[in-house]
Symmetry: C2
Subunit: 356 residues, 2 copies
């Protein structure tokens, strides 16, 4: 009972799920440099003596919050943690050491730490004689899906958001686009913005629409920590532009998405929202820099106007950029599609009836 | 208790719903010149002595089927009918007279007959001393929604079907389009074709894609009664074209949709499927000739190629053609949207947060 995933008693799994539930109280995945983590300490009698979650970079880790609540009662308990306790000294000391110092007898965790810097907590605890069990849970993986993708790939997770008509247009012939989608879809976009560290647009969008790129509430007032605003392109953004309302913005003049993503990763931004326009979206798609697409389709037809994505170098149907449909939801009069790049093109091998 | 809608006992409503269920066994709404109707006869002891449904033009009406099954036991029963019994002598005699002749004591029906020719059955029965009750049911209206729209408007109900990519394209830059949507969506289109009396395409589509426009099964074999194939446009359709496989086709050279719909209505076609292309769809949309849109959106991007609808004369966002979203469904990897023309443009009167 020293390594790898093991079967747990139902009670153990229930406590571990409680740790995942606690973790959800932290900042959304991708909105913070750190992963979401929840922890609880349970004594031999099945009593919870401490619990906690990580509220974001600069605040104590989940295990530390739980240990503080437990005080002397932590000794001999089992710690249930949604992610492997860290072995890393950052703004706080390693959680593995804190659990050892408190005399925790057993540690059960759900997600393995994918980072080079912080991994090794389980090993350190085992070496000190603590019984450690790793029990993977899908819910724990999903909790930090974007963060995990970012720290393993070395660049932020990128969601491309686009709002378009049924005929795939993002504006009318004269360039007007307010509003293609309805209030529910627009609220959903503001929830999405609250989950990212940066919002990226091209200079074309910045100059044509003068977007504020802030997270706002129902009344239109900015709420919470605002994402970094990033404008990509060589054209100058005037000093009076809404994206330049304060210093929390930057401009990148390279068309290569990785020239934008690298400095954002260095700023510990784990999730980036690409909001357009069509030319930038096409470039990032072709470069393989998009991990997720959030498309809001309005029940509207324009018959003319710019399409949602620029030229992709696709000449014939077999070269189409295929995505996987992860989710469909109705938001008022609009439809939200969540899509992910398809791992490989699906060539149907069984004959299908012809359509025409 | 002689006129108008009345409250019914729960038992009465249950029998009426049974009549609607029977009606559903007939041909789909729009696939036949006649409405779908179900009927049953219930004696004083609550025993069903006869039931039936209308199987399509040229076959007996639902009431007649039920009366035949009941024979002499029909006397003194209550007839539950999903639609007002007809007072019309067509290929068969009026159902009102048949119910009278059989000595039915009471008639309860759900839908009023909207046609000039066949209406008046309830009046005729009342005049002869039968107790008649009209109890509207939404399910009964929905059953013949397209047929009712056609007979009241004097033209077939028109569904526009379109399959497109997420960026609103119906073909790649080189014109190839097989297949944009997956097998489940294509099967759904064949189910839809089985519900219509005619399929309409423009000469552009007929010449470019050479579609067969038939209803086919999983193995690609034609099944059941086939819809009339209609090609709109002045260009000649070659004798070897798939739409000309047999005589069940016609060509209309007028761009005015009503020049196509009038002769189809005269042929007692109640539901027409418009399958493209973009130019024809734009003309019919602008003429107000489209009652329903069935859009199959594939999780695919092309970045170039023809859009799903041609120029609509829309210059700015306020002029967008707005539809109402009636239904959203996932079909394999594709999304099916069912939309209807919006009765009037919705101008939000309450302030909403800005998107950008």
């Amino acid at each position: 009972m020293t390594g790898g995933p093991v079967d747990l008693h139902a009670a153990d799994e229930a406590w571990l799920r409680r740790a995942v539930d606690l973790a959800r109280q932290g900042r959304p995945d991708g909105a913070d440099p750190n992963p979401r983590v929840g922890a609880l300490l349970v004594d031999a009698g099945g009593v919870v003596v401490g619990e906690g979650f990580h509220a974001g970079a600069g605040t104590p880790h989940a295990e530390v919050v739980a240990l503080r609540e437990a005080g002397g009662r932590a000794e001999g308990t089992t710690a249930y943690v949604s992610l492997e306790p860290c072995a890393h000294t950052g703004r706080t000391g390693p959680c593995a050491d804190a659990l050892l110092a408190a005399g925790v007898a057993r540690v059960v965790y759900a997600g393995a730490d994918p980072t080079v810097e912080a991994a090794g907590g389980a090993e350190r605890l085992r070496a000190a004689g603590v019984r450690v069990q790793h029990h993977p849970l899908t819910a724990a993986e999903e909790l930090n899906r974007r963060w995990t993708a970012a720290v393993t790939s070395g660049r932020p997770f990128v969601t491309w958001k686009v709002g378009a008509t049924l005929d795939g247009r993002v504006a009318a012939a004269d360039g007007t686009s307010r509003w293609i989608t309805g209030p529910q879809a627009r609220r959903d976009v503001h929830r999405l913005r609250a989950e990212v560290g940066a919002i990226v647009v091209g200079t074309g969008t910045a100059l044509a629409d003068d977007p504020a790129l802030t997270v706002r509430d129902e009344a239109g007032e900015p709420v919470g920590r605002q994402p970094l605003r990033v404008v990509v392109g060589r054209r100058e953004v005037p000093a009076g532009a809404a994206v330049r309302a304060d210093d929390h913005w930057l401009q990148v003049d390279s068309p290569d998405p990785f020239d934008t993503l690298k400095p954002l990763h260095d700023k510990q931004i784990r999730h980036v929202l690409l909001e357009g326009g069509p030319t930038l979206a096409a470039a990032w798609l072709q470069a393989g820099a998009i991990d997720e697409v959030r498309a809001y389709v309005a029940p509207t037809l324009l018959g003319a106007g710019p399409a949602l994505v620029g030229d992709l170098g696709v000449a014939t149907i077999a070269e189409a950029v295929r995505l996987e449909l992860a989710d469909v939801a109705r938001l008022g009069e609009d439809v939200r599609l969540t899509l992910r790049p398809a791992p490989a093109r699906t060539n149907p091998t069984t004959p299908v009836p012809e359509e025409d």
